[in-house]
């Protein structure tokens, strides 16, 4: 800083500046101090005037003795003026103070006049001169000086023109003008300095605020808590913070669209955000395209038509744009983060750095999320591939299963279920849950399912199967454990044989709608002990009952006890639909309290179909696979009606032969059906097999055997061919023995 600036000499330029008309006439002035100054001056001036009244009695004016009265009135007005200026009632502004200084000068002139033009009052003129110049803006200070000089020269008008008086007055006037201008210069200097200081202060404050905003911005985009947000939430939260920190109206994240290389809006925030979703920007077009191509921030400020710069922003109220690339390892651009503002000023380097920081954060999150998504997909695919793709149709047992993966973002669990058909007609139902998540859990689940199938195919009893699976899990390296429930259903006798390894108890709903959990005893999960000593329980259930197997994801919820969940399940099943398929849906919708389970959920519902009463009808496609359904249904029905094993077999063979003839001669096309009607009355069973084609006489001796069997195994077998189809009617007493 130069010496000149420190000690400025008044110059004409400076004086001209002083006199220049200014918008802010009082800029740099201190109203409060000025007010105090003027108020105190009034008081001081009044006090001195009071003293001068005694020294120079105000009787020499033309009004004579009345001068005393006028003098006292003027002094009183002084004090009133002081009170007015200092008091709280009015708080006069600069204009008020201006008038007050003129009034002060007028008052002194009046007192001087009352005293007959005595020079004692000149001291007071000097006092007011200082005050007036201090209070007025420089431009108005000049007329004030003039006013003071004029007031000081007044005695010349009424007190005569003595040479001495004339010389004194003129000398005074010159002195006052000089003093007035020096004061004026000084005060304006002080004022301009104060003005500069204010400006500096404002600048500093602004810079400090910017710094704070930047730090807050950094905090906002680098907040560690963001890391726990799901991917899409993270993006929108980051965009929200960026718009706030950079004070912009719009922000958007565009990601590379796989093969085409075009950019697609993945997240948007601010105005028009909804319209932007999923919009595409062709490769190389607009701001985003340039950013992606050049791999560096691109600024656009004060543009006229924003839509040209970026097809994403409606031109109307956007004039500045900033875009930064999303870079991942190896410097690959995976997208662009851009912000738009209606402010012409555009964006600073600071803004760009902050935005780049946010972009880096987004890039890392995207990288990680894509990896996670991939792992999640693999685990889910693995798990789905390990669950049975199709549930077998089993006569007498209606099955439905559901598997619902956990909420988005969570790892895949190891829920498993399976249905295994035994050669003797029993059906094994398994449900389990490998503790842990992800690919590890899913692969153990796969191992378990394979082992379960292997043991079940050998006809393993539940406790035996569970015990062997315990060894399978025990040999698994990872020290994992799993819960399992294995139920063997015998539709013929309506019994359940089951064994559990730490799994939640199965729920049974009777035909009357009452529900109860089956007692399972306390057995440890698989993999906990080398020998679990698993036992099995047997219960008989009524035909028409429904068995519900489920995993803990259905009934376990944060902040809720499992008992509550089981209670809700029991309630839902009791009031749920009859059909197992609909029941599964109902359970999944109503049991988790918010309708969405956080964990994986597997549910299996099996209804032991009610045994047909005295009569039942079965309608099946005419194909070899239907034979099993006929046998199972018939066996169960005959068993329920007290048929002995031998009778049951013989009737099944006879019926099978009749059905086989239909199947073998079914007309091509595959949509042929046949109907089996069974009736039991007074110990006699009648089976009627009807088809809708022509009965073919036996072609070869081999097939003649079927007809022969049908006749020999029943009391009577009648075949009635007809134009609409053939009817085979078989009758047999349940207690009678047919002769071999």
């Amino acid at each position: 800083m130069s010496a000149e600036r420190k000690f400025p000499l008044p110059s004409f330029g400076a004086i001209r500046d002083l006199l220049r008309r200014s918008e802010q006439a009082y800029d740099g002035a201190d109203l409060l101090t000025a007010r105090k100054f003027v108020g105190v001056l009034w008081a001081v001036s009044g006090t001195i005037a009071l003293g001068l009244l005694l020294v120079e009695p105000p009787t020499e004016s033309p009004i004579g003795a009345a001068g005393w009265l006028a003098g006292v009135a003027v002094v009183g007005a002084s004090f009133l003026g002081a009170r007015w200026v200092l008091g709280d009632a009015e708080e006069p502004g600069f204009d008020g103070l201006l008038i007050a200084t003129y009034a002060g000068v007028t008052q002194i002139a009046a007192l001087e006049w009352l005293a007959g033009g005595d020079s004692a009052y000149r001291a007071l003129f000097v006092l007011w001169l200082g005050a007036g110049v201090g209070v007025h803006p420089p431009r108005r200070g000049v007329p004030f000086i003039g006013a003071v000089v004029a007031a000081g020269c007044m005695p010349l008008l009424y007190a005569g023109h003595e040479t001495r008086t004339l010389i004194d007055t003129v000398t005074n006037a010159v002195l006052w003008v000089a003093v007035g201008f020096v004061l004026l210069a000084l005060i304006s200097r002080v004022r301009s300095q104060r003005r500069e200081m204010h400006e500096l202060e404002r600048d500093a404050l602004e810079r400090a605020e910017q710094a704070v905003r930047r730090v807050q911005g950094l905090e906002a985009v680098s907040d560690a808590a963001l890391a726990h947000l799901p991917f899409d939430d993270l993006l929108s939260e980051l965009l929200g913070r960026i718009t706030k920190v950079l004070q912009v109206e719009r922000a958007a994240i565009l990601l590379n669209d796989g093969d085409t290389g075009a950019l697609r809006v993945r997240a948007a925030h601010g105005r028009d955000a909804e319209q932007l979703k999923r919009r595409r920007v062709p490769l190389g077009e607009g701001l985003a395209g340039r950013v992606a191509a050049e791999k560096r921030p691109v600024f656009i400020r004060a543009m006229e038509d924003a839509s040209e710069a970026s097809p994403l922003v409606p031109g109307a109220d956007v004039s500045s744009l900033l875009g930064v690339p999303l870079l991942v390892r190896g410097g690959t651009v995976i997208g662009v983060l851009q912000v738009a503002s209606s402010d012409d000023a555009g964006f600073s380097e600071d803004d760009s750095r902050l935005l780049q920081l946010a972009a880096d954060r987004v890039a890392v999150a995207i990288d990680r999320a894509q990896l996670n998504e991939q792992a999640h997909r693999i685990a889910e695919t693995l798990q789905r591939s390990l669950l049975p793709s199709r549930i077998p149709d089993i006569p007498g047992l209606t099955l439905a299963t559901r598997y619902q993966p956990g909420a988005a973002g969570s790892a895949v669990g190891g829920d498993l279920f399976d249905v295994v058909e035994y050669l003797d007609g029993r059906i094994g139902l398994a449900i389990g849950d490998v503790v842990g998540r992800g690919i590890e859990a899913a692969s153990l689940m796969g191992q378990l399912r394979n082992a379960l199938r292997a043991y079940a195919i050998e006809g393993g009893e539940p406790a035996d199967v569970v015990e062997r699976l315990n060894r399978v899990v025990g040999h698994w390296d990872e020290g994992q454990i799993a819960t399992l429930l294995y139920v063997l259903v015998d539709p013929r006798t309506s019994t359940l044989t089951y064994s559990t390894a730490g799994h939640l108890p199965p729920l049974v709903r009777g035909p009357d709608g009452t529900t109860s959990f089956l007692p399972t005893g306390e057995y440890v999960p698989l993999g906990v002990l080398p020998f679990g000593a698993y036992r099995e329980s047997v219960v008989a259930i009524e035909p028409g009952s429904t068995l519900i197997l489920y995993t803990d994801g259905l009934v376990e919820e944060r902040g809720m006890s499992v008992e509550d969940g089981m209670e809700r399940l029991s309630h839902a099943v009791a009031g749920g639909p009859e059909d197992p398929d609909a029941l599964c849906d109902h359970v999944l919708e109503t049991v988790p309290s918010d309708g969405i389970a956080g964990d994986d959920v597997a549910v299996l519902a099996a209804r032991l179909d009610p045994v047909p009463s005295n009569k039942f009808e079965l309608r099946l496609p005419a194909e070899p696979e239907s034979m099993v359904a006929v046998r199972r249904t018939l066996e169960r029905w005959l068993d329920a009606h007290g048929a002995e094993r031998q009778v049951m077999y013989e009737l099944t063979v006879a019926c099978g032969e009749a059905c086989m003839n239909v199947v073998e001669h079914a007309y091509p096309g595959g949509d042929a059906v046949f109907v089996l009607e069974a009736t039991h009355e007074n110990g006699e069973v009648e089976l009627v097999i009807r088809d809708f084609g022509y009965w073919r006489p036996p072609r070869k001796s081999d097939r003649g055997r079927g007809l022969e069997l049908m006749r020999r195994l029943t009391d009577s077998a009648k075949i009635t061919p007809g134009p609409q189809g053939t009817t085979v009617r078989l009758r047999r007493g349940l207690k009678t023995k047919v002769t071999a």
Binding site: P392, V420, E421, L423, D424, I457, P624, E625, M627, V628, R631, R645, Q646, M648, Y649, E650, T652, V653, G656, E657, M660, V663, E664, D702, R703, R705, G706, E708, L709, R712, L713, A740
Partner: protein, 137 residues
């Protein structure tokens, strides 16, 4: 679709013992027949088909037995079936006359003995079939 039946093959001396568990009907008879025929390689005397754990057999299964018996006979092998007296399927075996062409026994041991006794042309001479290089005369 689960298999209706399961074959369990074991070799008892020079006989092939096949335990058939499950059911034989029109849907699996052809398949079982092919599997059994393939199992009876030329170094065996024939097949002992154990039907003790077969819970269902109808005319399609009976047809399979006749056919398999005929095929093996032409190959100078023999089919013997095991149907215990208490088995429910015994009736169908009896009614259809399988027993006229396919010998049946009550137990696997009996059937194996029967097989060895019938196929071996010189009873008492163990060397006839046990030497793979032996000539046919």
């Amino acid at each position: 679709m689960k298999p209706l039946a399961q074959l369990d093959v074991e070799r008892v001396q020079d006989a092939l013992v096949v335990h058939l568990e499950g059911e034989i009907d029109i849907s699996n008879a052809a398949e079982l027949g092919a599997a059994l025929e393939a199992a009876a390689t030329s170094d065996t005397l024939g097949i002992v088909l154990d039907l003790s754990h077969t819970s269902y057999i109808d005319s399609a299964g009976v047809h399979l037995l006749f056919r398999l018996g005929g095929r093996l006979t032409r190959r100078r092998q023999q089919l013997r079936i095991v149907v215990p007296a208490e088995s429910p399927i015994k009736k169908v075996i009896k009614l259809t006359g399988v027993g006229w062409t396919v010998p049946h026994d009550d137990s696997v041991d009996e059937a194996v003995r029967g097989l060895r006794a019938e196929v071996r042309p010189v009873p008492g001479s163990d060397s006839w079939n046990s030497d793979p290089n032996a000539e046919w005369w």
